[in-house]
């Protein structure tokens, strides 16, 4: 047949080329692929025509595939589809570890998914560019499984502040992340080590561990911008109280050079120099976490995803537990406060095709009704109030839930969310230099402050106001 085609449509010189065996072979393959492509397009078109004929609203949901995976989200999507079959609604949910990179061109083209879960995208930039829809309307709806209250009111205090601007909430967290210190309870029992209640006891514990021949703490050095930074920020609150955190969040000049924040940098640098694993700055987060799991170090600072991320490597006799980073009676901060925040943020792009259903599915996903299932399935702590019962979690995450339930509140800082260039050019290198001792605490603080001052001075868009914490609400006194 291909010979007949060639005689009909091709000029003489092309026919002679065609008649060579190689060209015929290549042409046949090309023709076969073309036919397959046409058929594929045709079947897709038929599929779309069928969907249109039945007026099925296909709602695309894209989920960051990280330590929590996407299996539970997919189960929720299937359940939602079953429950709403009569409404001809279909959630199509997919996930990817590189979701942000995949979605950037789609956001740019104005063809984004209807609902996105990934705060690795520049949410503040998208908010400023008017690319996101406010979630105020669904937040005013009743919470699923607790209809007496609005969805917003079921969120734990402060959970909706991270992406709030001019009274509008543009992204809501699907999980809560707490920054704690992890240890192996069976090892501690065997060695007779006690969980420290104060910073002095913590340092004593590090000394005991060191004397036993073990390295006290592992550090995810390659990701210092997050892992070392989070421990440093916890110490800022412990030493300076929420006022120190407020200064940073309000972008006050010299907030990192304030004596309290400076002292936190000194304490942290001493901790790294004396008790962190040698060579830690060259370790990726999984390498360092594996060092801890393998018993080469006795502790590691990490978020709640540690157990899920390292699940395959945790030995049966390893009792993974967590304690909060202690404070000191001499310090200003309330050590019952958790360094934590909402995470796994959900948001709806303005260009979403079905924003109403996207809102509805977000409310379905983060609901009092489904929170226990989420906890049991992926070990994620819900950002909602009164839904995190320790019995729904593994013993490891239950130990964090105990800390959260026992806490006076949560705090976090925001400059790295506001200023991506500060994070990547200033903060990451500065915290690494502090850890390796090539910057003094004073130089470190000055570097951070100068970087913030530069960002504030050159900001082209209005910087949203910070939601500040009142120290007296947390049993802390105002500094004089």
């Amino acid at each position: 047949m291909s010979r007949a085609i060639s005689h009909c449509i091709l000029p003489t010189y092309v026919q002679s080329v065609y008649n060579t065996i190689m060209f015929r072979y290549v042409f046949s393959i090309f023709l076969s692929f073309s036919i397959i492509l046409v058929l594929a397009f045709y079947s897709d078109a038929i599929h779309r025509i069928n969907d249109t004929a039945q007026e099925i609203k296909v709602v695309e949901v894209a989920i960051f595939k990280g330590a929590f995976g996407i299996e539970w989200h997919q189960q929720m999507a299937e359940q939602f589809n079953r429950e709403n079959k009569h409404r001809n609604i279909k959630i199509e949910l997919w996930g990817d570890p590189k979701l942000a990179n995949i979605l950037k061109p789609r956001l740019l083209r104005g063809n984004p998914p209807d609902l996105i879960l990934d705060e690795r995208l520049p949410l503040w930039l998208l908010i400023a560019a008017d690319k996101l829809l406010p979630l105020n309307a669904p937040l005013a709806e009743p919470a699923l499984g607790f209809e007496q209250q609005k969805w917003a009111d079921r969120y734990s205090p402060g959970m909706l502040n991270m992406f709030k601007s001019n009274g509008n909430v543009y992204a809501v967290p699907a999980a809560f992340g707490a920054w704690t210190c992890w240890y192996n309870a069976s090892l501690y029992k065997a060695k007779g080590w006690e969980i420290p209640k104060t910073w002095d006891e913590y340092i004593d514990l590090c000394e005991k561990i060191k004397q036993s021949g073990m390295v006290p703490i592992a550090l995810q050095g390659k990701n210092s911008y997050f892992y070392a930074w989070s421990t440093y920020i916890t110490l800022v609150q412990r030493i300076g109280g929420v006022e120190a955190i407020n200064r940073i969040n309000a972008l006050e000049p010299n907030s990192f050079s304030h004596p309290d924040a400076l002292k936190a940098a000194q304490v942290f640098q001493n901790l790294v120099a004396n008790y962190y694993q040698p060579g830690a700055l060259a370790m990726t987060h999984t390498e360092a976490q594996l060092q801890f799991i393998q018993g080469n170090t006795a502790m590691i600072f990490c978020g709640v995803w540690l157990e899920n991320e390292m699940r395959e490597t945790i030995p049966a006799d390893f009792e993974l537990r967590s304690f909060d980073i202690p404070g000191s009676p001499e310090w200003k901060g309330n050590d019952k406060m958790v360094h934590g925040q909402g995470m796994e943020f959900l948001f709806v792009p303005k260009a979403a095709k079905h924003p109403g259903i996207a809102f509805e599915f977000a409310r379905y996903l983060v609901s009092p009704q489904h929170a226990p299932g989420m906890s049991r399935s992926i070990g994620a702590i819900s950002p909602l109030r009164e839904v995190n019962s320790p019995e729904n979690f593994s013993p490891a995450i239950a130990s964090v839930v105990d800390i959260v339930n026992d806490s006076s509140g949560a705090f976090n800082v925001r400059p790295y969310m506001l200023f991506p260039a500060w994070k990547s050019q200033v903060m990451d290198a500065a915290i690494q230099d502090l850890c390796r001792g090539t910057l003094t605490p004073e130089e470190f603080a000055r570097t951070l402050d100068d970087g913030i001052a530069h960002e504030v001075a050159t900001a082209e868009r209005a910087i949203p106001d910070a939601v500040l914490l009142n120290p007296s609400d947390y049993g802390e006194l105002h500094a004089h």
């Binding site: 990179n101 930039l125 700055l281 060259a282």
Partner: protein, 304 residues
């Protein structure tokens, strides 16, 4: 006449697919990048024309200068050692070394591996955990010679080769290991095209192997050697993968190279115009370096 016209059409017919692909995926994006370099654009809102502002900012940017310096380190340190070793190995194999075939395959082997796989392999070898073979050897050396390598009371500890502050120098051995085989094969092919009579005559005249190399081999493969330098300049300027992998996708001021700064500007800082300006400068630098190098090769070309 008719045949000539048909041949002309045939030429266009054969060249058309490559031309279309080149225009769509290289030329047009290149022109677009040039336009972006004169704009301020975050990738989400409307671009704004800013003239040469991005280029002015680039020249005053310490980060870009540091990245450029790191590229030069890779180019000079990596390039010098790679090309010298490749020349040495090619010459040795060319002069009939026993087991030459095995060595040729062994040296060329890294070229068939993906760049990311090579980076992960070296990351594991450099690892400061028990997994890292290089640090295991280093620890053994410290234990064997404590008076030389350890201060009083100090215990052997791994060296953080992939720590940001040492990363560029740690990449140089990886670069040499990866690239030497390719350049060796390039030079060997050139050496094998040199007529054997030249060496026979030189041997009769009493020339030593070293004299034969400097007076016959090297002058006759000089042009290929220059091509090797051009290849190395281009590949070092575009170097990306190993830094990206070993820095867990977030290099900092100690470890950036030009392409990682470019990536960071677009995908972490959303400064597309500035990143396009980097791409333009990168193109110009490579273009100038290539022109200079090729200009050298045109002088005193030997024909045989």
């Amino acid at each position: 006449m008719h045949i000539n016209r048909e041949l002309k059409r045939l030429r266009w017919f054969l060249i058309a697919p490559a031309l279309i692909l080149f225009t769509c995926f290289t030329a047009l994006p290149g022109v677009r990048a040039l336009i972006y370099s004169f704009q301020k654009w975050d990738g989400f809102t409307e671009p704004e024309w800013v003239g040469l502002q991005n280029f002015q900012a680039l020249l005053a940017d310490d980060l870009f200068i540091l990245a450029l310096k790191n590229n030069v380190i890779l180019m000079v340190a990596g390039g010098a050692i790679t090309l010298c070793l490749a020349l040495l190995f090619a010459s040795t194999i060319h002069r009939g070394m026993r087991g030459a075939g095995v060595f040729r395959v062994a040296f060329f082997f890294p070229n068939i591996l993906a760049a990311v796989a090579i980076a992960i392999l070296w990351q594991q070898m450099y690892s400061t955990t028990d997994f890292g073979i290089i640090n295991a050897i280093w620890m053994q050396i410290q234990q064997a010679l404590p008076s030389v390598f350890l201060k009083k009371g100090e215990i052997p500890s791994p060296f953080p080769f992939t720590d940001s502050s040492h990363l560029i120098w740690s990449i140089v051995p990886m670069l040499i290991w990866t690239a030497t085989g390719f350049y060796m094969v390039l030079f060997l092919a050139a050496m094998q095209s040199i007529p054997e009579e030249y060496y026979e005559a030189a041997t009769i005249d009493g020339a030593s192997p070293r004299q034969q190399f400097w007076h016959i081999t090297f002058p006759l493969i000089r042009e290929v050697f220059i091509v090797g330098i051009v290849f190395f300049i281009i590949s070092s300027a575009k170097f990306f993968d190993a830094v990206w992998v070993m820095e867990a996708e977030l290099p900092n001021k100690n470890s950036h190279v030009m392409t990682t700064v470019l990536y960071q500007k677009v995908f972490h800082e959303y400064n597309v115009g500035y990143a396009a300006a980097i791409a333009v400068v990168l193109f110009v630098l490579v273009f100038i370096a290539t022109l200079i190098t090729l200009n050298f090769s045109r002088k005193d070309t030997l024909e045989y």
